[in-house]
Symmetry: C2
Amino acid sequence: MTQPQIAFLGTGLMGGPMAANLLKAGFSVTAWNRTAAKAQALGPLGARAAASPGAAAADADIVITMVSDGPAAADLLFSQGVADTMKRGAVLVDMSSIKPAEARDHAERLRARGLDHLDAPVSGGTRGAEAASLAIMAGGDADVFERLLPVLSAMGRPVRVGPHGAGQLSKLTNQAIVAATIGIVAEAMLFAGKGGADPAAIRAALKGGFADSIVLQQHGERMTTGNFAPGAASRTQLKDIENVLSEAQSLGLALPLVEHMRSRYARFIDELDGAGKDHSGIYLELLDLNGMA
Amino acid sequence: MTQPQIAFLGTGLMGGPMAANLLKAGFSVTAWNRTAAKAQALGPLGARAAASPGAAAADADIVITMVSDGPAAADLLFSQGVADTMKRGAVLVDMSSIKPAEARDHAERLRARGLDHLDAPVSGGTRGAEAASLAIMAGGDADVFERLLPVLSAMGRPVRVGPHGAGQLSKLTNQAIVAATIGIVAEAMLFAGKGGADPAAIRAALKGGFADSIVLQQHGERMTTGNFAPGAASRTQLKDIENVLSEAQSLGLALPLVEHMRSRYARFIDELDGAGKDHSGIYLELLDLNGMA
């Protein structure tokens, strides 16, 4: 696949810099966004702006979608004409974070029309999107993934983690680990501080060891400095946790720590006005639990 | 303090290579160990072997202890003559992992005899001890810590985290984070695998991101390959957790995730013969919980 035509649907906070990196890498990109100005902003980098998702997809070899959730992705694909106008043999790469079951359903419906599908959600935030350093977790056929490697590599570090839906499962796995890690880092910072140690010095001392993580260094600092402006909002963290547990339930799995974090984030949001605060704000919920809020 | 005389008490699995690194850095070391052969083994590197802890400590500016627990450290200091023979103004550096309250008690009793004390437990295992790359978490007076920096730096990366006892508190903080991180990594590996993704690929995909940690990479691999030979035994992990909770109780703190992990490790040990298995073996307990063992 030399010189593929790419349609990029959803060029917002994440999709904008991702599409920009494709253009900088020399790919030919047609952009569409619900708010047209965000697609037109890519013009100086060489993107054409399309009037509709269907128009953007019509001459594309690869259609990339980056939208807010599963229903938004399904709407683009099956109500706004993308699946209808895509060329036979073209690939839909959905980089949105949606449920694994939704991804598998989309893949199946596209396959019935002779279209390939890859779920390829990302982790790394807007900073990773801008720096082309996103973790890209891909689910789908190995040969399709191999074919798309040059395109995905222009946006970050792609790894194929399994069949259709596995990319979304990997993203949920990421979110589950982050939730519980934030929870234990909150306990660690409270324990260290109350015990008379300097939490910042402890973060420095643990750096590079078995207890270390970006969460310890970054979210731990947010906790001890009281900076809970999002970042990633607690309401989004709770939604991710609920998606993990809904998928776990359909697999017949009990995940006790994830379940514990669901009840903690729900309490933070319902009783302590935490919805819009950064997910490191669970530290405030822990303080409240200890009568220290 | 140029050319300090160092006594190293407890030159076993950890203390042996730590003392060797002091010798390699050019320090003058007198070594003692309960099993004398382990002290004598440092002879070729230039160590003198002492016949008793008190004899080793008598002419030392710095006495380093590296033993199994608080009672063993107290026995050396106050029953086997170390505190009695140490020179006024000398420093006792206890690198053993003991309870914060024990460390504070030892510091107080030594101060009454005109002796300084630093608690300086380590993290990094025998590999870190050999490579002189241990995380060294120090609690005690800032000027004493500064004076000891050249000595501590020959064994690893020292950070002062607060006053007497804070080093031990930091070590417990480390162990608490590790316990819960192992717990969530177990859930992540089970969830990913049961959902049809490749856990090894997911570990690769998450590398460098918010969910990443040495625990995800190393203990996660142990879980999916079924390698539960210790490493760090689950009985030791449970002892560490109990020390965290005992210190938390004396601080009046509730730490729900640490409490959760206590009950999980206790169940693993009591009901599933987990005591001698690596702490990543909590994956087996999770499988059992899910009726999959």
